[in-house]
Symmetry: C2
Amino acid sequence: MKDGPDISIIAALIGDPARANILTALMSGKALTASELASEAGVTLQTASSHLSKLENASLIRVRKQGRHKYFTLGSEDVAHVLEALMGLAAGTGRLRTRPGPRDGAMRHARVCYNHLAGAMGTRMYDSLMVRDFLRHDGDMLHLTTSGQEFVAQLGLDLQSLPSPRTRLCRDCLDWSDRRSHLAGRLGRGLLAHFETLGWIRRVPKSRVIEYSKEGQKLFDRAFPIA
Amino acid sequence: MKDGPDISIIAALIGDPARANILTALMSGKALTASELASEAGVTLQTASSHLSKLENASLIRVRKQGRHKYFTLGSEDVAHVLEALMGLAAGTGRLRTRPGPRDGAMRHARVCYNHLAGAMGTRMYDSLMVRDFLRHDGDMLHLTTSGQEFVAQLGLDLQSLPSPRTRLCRDCLDWSDRRSHLAGRLGRGLLAHFETLGWIRRVPKSRVIEYSKEGQKLFDRAFPIA
DNA sequence: TTCATGGTTCGACACTAACCGAAGCATTGG
DNA sequence: CCAATGCTTCGGTTAGTGTCGAACCATGAA
């Protein structure tokens, strides 16, 4: 009575601590090399190699060769979606929640979810775009309205310049911290990169945390007001 | 560099085939006994008992004793959400997709997702409610508008009678078949039950498939038109 | 060519956990 | 009271796999 696709193979892959660490590290959206991932996962290079080949085989991750390095990224945004969903569940049911460290607060405030903005600032942006009708839900299809397109252009982001036009422009993703939606998809990715080039935000090295500059926070708050 | 909650323990639990089968079976929303789940999973009663205690320990499932039976259900809707996300990923990346059996088509058309309506009919209902502004997105908070409340009352469903008012009334959930949102939460649960009492739908035993009666399909289409 | 670095493959070890048989509780029904 | 049913616990076997040392390939630099 197996109804629906087989879950267990994928779940088993995520189920190993080393591999889970690898995937979580890749949630930063950065392309990381095998050695970096090995140290992230706390295993030697050989075992990491074994894990990576398995993950790639199931296309949970994607590889890009470059010189004598191999750069790994998550296989798709769906993978990131599953990981965030799992984090939400773990945060809720995980009784033995590691007590919130200093970094945890920063994570809740602003972090990168694979390649877009998440955390309180992420949901703030999403909400602000929604109430001004720049972003609209159509069934499930989330799309940018014409006034939204003007707004984005006004921010200085060129929609045409966004890469890989085959994928969805807007997509919503819900995060484990405040259980609200934030903006993913090509636009979400583009906006995050744009904020970085504008100098509003800065990514804390070796983590998913995002720091706002003083000026950046002010401008962000002005650009994305809430009622 | 473990950022975020620990995923691997939960994923490992779902990663065992027997447990995955158990959880998938519970996606039907029905409360099942230990022996039923054992046969679903294809293991003996003893091993099933072991699995069930582990799942309950992690509160992925919930138990209710009744006489000399123990009835199991999923722990929360978040668990169902994770499972559906995993199914979506498995359907997409799983190269060795078992070719669609006869039941697969029925599953895509209408099935139960834990306790609410999913599949093509599920997304149709969702879309229809959205375009008529009976349901509205507010940031992430999905809520029923006043005209929506009238509509629901007109269908013959008493909102006050819905159980467990502590949980959310509306919630969206996206399914693995057509990658669109459908309605979950207390209202989604209530509507599914209502359709059943109206005789519009019938649940195929021992599966998650939902069958429409001829008359039921007609009335459903009329109640939830699409552009 | 020689060296160094990044990554893979092989083999062996150890540890976990899934599995079932058999016995043990608990509840219901006669 | 005894019998039957539903489930749990215990013990021992077995299979799988995560782990690392060591040797092996490939690329780039000196």
